[in-house]
């Protein structure tokens, strides 16, 4: 098992004929992901790497048995593309674009959730279940199959940790790019039940950041509902206040709200292991899993 993405994933790539869309479709196919359709308005009827292209998501859904879509379009077109996927009722919608207007995501999140659809990202590498399938642009060579579930607001910190973990012979069940924006389609607390229910996942890693209260919400949930060990890393302890640290969501208020110390405190109280660095995450996991 694993969660969200696996050998049963039948993927649509929105924006498949673009440079990024095409390149990463090839990568995903190589990895074994079943890409069943592409969507680019005006390019319907063509094929990209043997994948049929449709003009609209609705047509792709009518013609194939797709159950997931990943959107490779620039941020300024993302809102329309998500709305199209929501209207076509694709159950799982993944977004990756950087610099998406937060108002666009606020609206899309609401629309997707009203219909009971899963929405992830943006500003994310996607989702990978190593050895099974990937939907995203992550460098898949560093991942390996195993018992650790990952969810991360940062791509670079996740890569770094996974790279060291794989080198230590510890694999991953599923890695989710939550994304670094202020309003993600799915927050930590919304992904936790999936990991808790997945028999393959033996430990959960949560790579959080300063800003917002996603980690605090996760802590409250973990305390009541999560039986598996959770290792948490919070980046940005020493970031200057009132300055967004590149990720739009990573900002501590002038009053100290969203700070790392508060997050670590409640996570610790909820029974999580608190890691000081990506390397420390790996050490903690090695110890937990050897028990």
């Amino acid at each position: 098992m694993s969660i969200l993405i696996d050998e049963n994933t039948r993927l649509i790539v929105q924006g498949i004929t673009g440079r990024e869309g095409q390149f990463h479709t090839e990568q995903m196919l190589e990895y074994g992901t079943k890409v069943v359709a592409g969507v680019t308005p005006g390019k319907g009827g063509q094929e990209v790497l043997g994948v049929p292209v449709f003009n609209t998501v609705r047509e792709a859904m009518e013609a194939t048995d797709a159950n997931t879509t990943i959107i490779f379009v620039p941020a300024k077109f993302l809102k329309d593309s998500i709305m199209e996927a929501v209207d076509a009722e694709v159950p799982l919608i993944l977004t990756i674009a950087e610099h998406t207007p937060v108002h666009d995501m606020m609206l899309c999140r609401r629309l997707a959730h009203e219909k009971g659809l899963r929405l992830f990202g943006p500003n994310s590498f996607g989702i990978i279940s190593p050895g099974k399938a990937k939907a995203g642009f992550m460098a898949h060579k560093i991942f390996s199959q195993g018992p650790v579930g990952f969810m991360s607001r940062s791509a670079t910190n996740c890569y770094e940790t996974v790279f060291m973990l794989t080198n230590r012979g510890i694999g991953q069940s599923t890695c989710i790019g939550i994304g670094g924006d202020m309003i993600p389609g799915t927050t930590f607390v919304e992904a936790l039940p999936d990991f808790e229910a997945d028999p393959e996942t033996k430990a959960i890693v949560m790579i959080g950041e300063i800003g917002g209260d996603a980690e605090e919400q996760a802590a409250a949930y973990i305390k009541e509902h999560v039986t598996k060990p959770v290792v948490a890393l919070i980046a940005g302890k020493n970031a200057p206040k009132g300055t967004s640290m590149g990720h739009a969501g990573a900002i501590v208020g002038e009053d100290g709200s969203g700070g790392a110390e508060g997050k670590e405190k409640v996570l610790k109280e909820a029974g999580c292991y608190i890691a000081e660095s990506t390397e420390h995450v790996v050490d903690i996991l090695a110890e937990i899993l050897s028990k």
Binding site: P101, L111, A139, A155, T156, Y159, M182, A235, M245
Partner: protein, 385 residues
Amino acid sequence: MKLLEYQAKEIFEKYGLSTPKGTVIDSKEDVAAKIAQAGLSYPVVIKAQVQVGGRGKAGGVKFADSGEEAQSIVDTLLFSDLKGLKVNKLLVVEKADVAKEWYLSILLDRKTNGPVVIFSAAGGMEIEETAKTNPDAIVNVPVNPLTGITAYFVNYVCSKSGVGMEYTKVLGELLTKLYKMFIEHSCMLAEINPVSVTSAGELVAIDGKVTVDDSALYRLPDVLAYRDAIEEPPLVVEARSFRFLYIPVSTGRVAVMSNGSGMLMSMIDLLSKKGVTVACALDLGGGATRDRIKEAVRIELSTPGVDTIFICIFGGITRCDEVADGVRMALENESSDKTVIIRMEGTNKDAGMEIVNSTKGAISVGGIVEGVETVAKVLKGGDAA
């Protein structure tokens, strides 16, 4: 992007919100004539257009009863330094007719993942005090982004805040206009404090704070045009021209660089734990070609006091030889006391390492923790010398 007060008010006006009659002054010549030309009557308020907290207490807000008095205030205040920021513009407005002062804002709230309206009948300078002593006097209501501001929403705000149902019409109009602006201008925050309730029962925005989402600036040409008027550190502006994000952090000899914000934060955390203060951070974003790396290194090394850079690049498709070559090119143009410590992972790693090892002033490391140790060692060596 945080707008200056006069900019926020110009946008308010576009949405039909009333603001005090005023004019912007950016030179010391003929102040009285300019005030007369704008049709303002005395007394007037002269407000420094800088983004500092406690502007009034810092001497950035003055009152004038005559043209001569206004001229002398402008002579001192314009181009002066207010809490470290240069005052390039002054806003001169008529002193408002204030019967009551309210507080109103709309902000994007991360708890509810949507807009929240905050209102209080006790506005003005006391709002922060009210928040502490009488938080119940502040109404905090999430807005459903699919419906926007409705009549029952306004009824709730008026009823709950105790301001009274007689204000549903005027407050409803104000809130609807402000919300329209908030949505159409992709605001993170739109605040009016105070809202003045005039003796005629009209609502006027005495002061305004507006923060617009940087990611939405591409579709807001009116806001983008304001950016030049906002004081920004020159290196931030220069870095932006290369599509880099440059973040001033503190002061010190060390700068950090990466292709991701999460990694930058981790680097700063680990260095701080070692007692090393970081002067600045630079996010390269995607596409680390040698020419871009060279510019990034140059920009960080031109930060006052910085002589050491720690670079962490982790990307499957980033070519390490490109990164190393960029560092080599940059170091060739620098004096010999500069050090660049590099941790990189990706394609052509061996070729990259070879370039690093043959470049004077460049040190390659195997991981982020080793990199932090190396930075600390380099700093010590520098001190000893």
